[in-house]
Symmetry: D2
Subunit: 140 residues, 4 copies
Amino acid sequence: MHGAMDAAELSAFLDREFPQVSGDFAIERLTADGIVMRLKVGDRHLRPGGTVSGPNIFALADVAVYLAILARIGPVALAVTTGGGIDFLRKPEAGRDLIGEARILKLGRVLAVGDVLIRSEGREEPVARANMTYSIPPKR
Amino acid sequence: MHGAMDAAELSAFLDREFPQVSGDFAIERLTADGIVMRLKVGDRHLRPGGTVSGPNIFALADVAVYLAILARIGPVALAVTTGGGIDFLRKPEAGRDLIGEARILKLGRVLAVGDVLIRSEGREEPVARANMTYSIPPKR
Amino acid sequence: MHGAMDAAELSAFLDREFPQVSGDFAIERLTADGIVMRLKVGDRHLRPGGTVSGPNIFALADVAVYLAILARIGPVALAVTTGGGIDFLRKPEAGRDLIGEARILKLGRVLAVGDVLIRSEGREEPVARANMTYSIPPKR
Amino acid sequence: MHGAMDAAELSAFLDREFPQVSGDFAIERLTADGIVMRLKVGDRHLRPGGTVSGPNIFALADVAVYLAILARIGPVALAVTTGGGIDFLRKPEAGRDLIGEARILKLGRVLAVGDVLIRSEGREEPVARANMTYSIPPKR
């Protein structure tokens, strides 16, 4: 796969375009078919009992697939999330960041689809799985 | 439907158990089959361009179905979101709160399912639709 | 809503384009925002115990939203299902047809989204809910 | 993973319990975390143009995750599909069977979750991805 943006460029893009959330996330690395991203878990992400809230896990899935798409098509294309689904599989472990592995399954003319497996850092069993779909604007 | 909690009790429950997000939401009213909830849109919910972010819309769907379930089964039961799906249909209008109408479709022994239609306040066309599933713990 | 096809035209379209399944379904009526369709339950749709199989319920949801879209945009546009989600809520009642009420939530330039509530005929509580998304080809 | 049923036992189970569809499917092999299954594509699965219909692809996803669960917990447990989601990514190739690779992501006390990647035989790019959830009855 020939990439349009590397990890540093994606990180700068996130800081510039999404300053309200960019501090929550870090790009671990680009992969052959996607990206590995980290949610830097802080108090604001937690629910009583120390688990990361569902919407924050959804946000990790969303940003991971989004950046995996931009890694291929570049920042000029404004991809918009059109929908997604998520299953919460296990309670995240307290005191650990979440690591999301996203892969692109389709990168079409108008739609891109990816899925994500999310784990507490250092653990094998997944905390959540998600699928996300994005609309790719024309004339990119 | 005989309710286990009314709007004031649900609101107090939200403040007590979810203090980090309770300020974002308000219960508009309970309905025959669910609840109407408001996301009080503020700068922290927005993306560039003034639209509410996807994870915040997901959060509104999640809390709405969750409270609709608690309205029926009461606060003793700890319902946990097991999964959900969402379609983002239109860009929310800038400067308007989001209103989510949730209805319970199933309230079973172990699973509860609801769906939600979300609109910008005062508009007819929906901004998003979502479905959410919750696990109901035993011995409630 | 100004419709592009009425129930008789949709029924003829289904017979012509989908002869392998058209005998399974009947259009009950068009509604303000969608369609009501019947799955004429026969032995081939059943699982042991007399319930309709999940894929057949999915098929009802798919065809209902599909025809609701064609009712608006006409037969020239070849809409393609890009995805969907379904929750199976209750066991269908043996010996009853399934009735699906579909409504269009978005009919955009490239994507259309609808949802469906499916019941055993004459019963109030839903058997399943589903959401379906379709890609609308350009230059329609 | 210690399995409760092997491929031959699963195949016999499918023939006995689901005779109406068992001829459509074949177990390719069990894997470390799931199963590989084949949909033996025939005329009855096709839509005009020679593509496999969406509900038939959904059926492959459903049976694959279902048998992957039974491979672990055995035939005594009656798992019921509670819901799922599917994205149709590419048109299946005419004249080729579909191969679904399912993996179990969670096998809990009351819920099991798996996902599936479906390809036309011999092709790399996926035709569909799906996620399926099953309710596991108590006292298994």
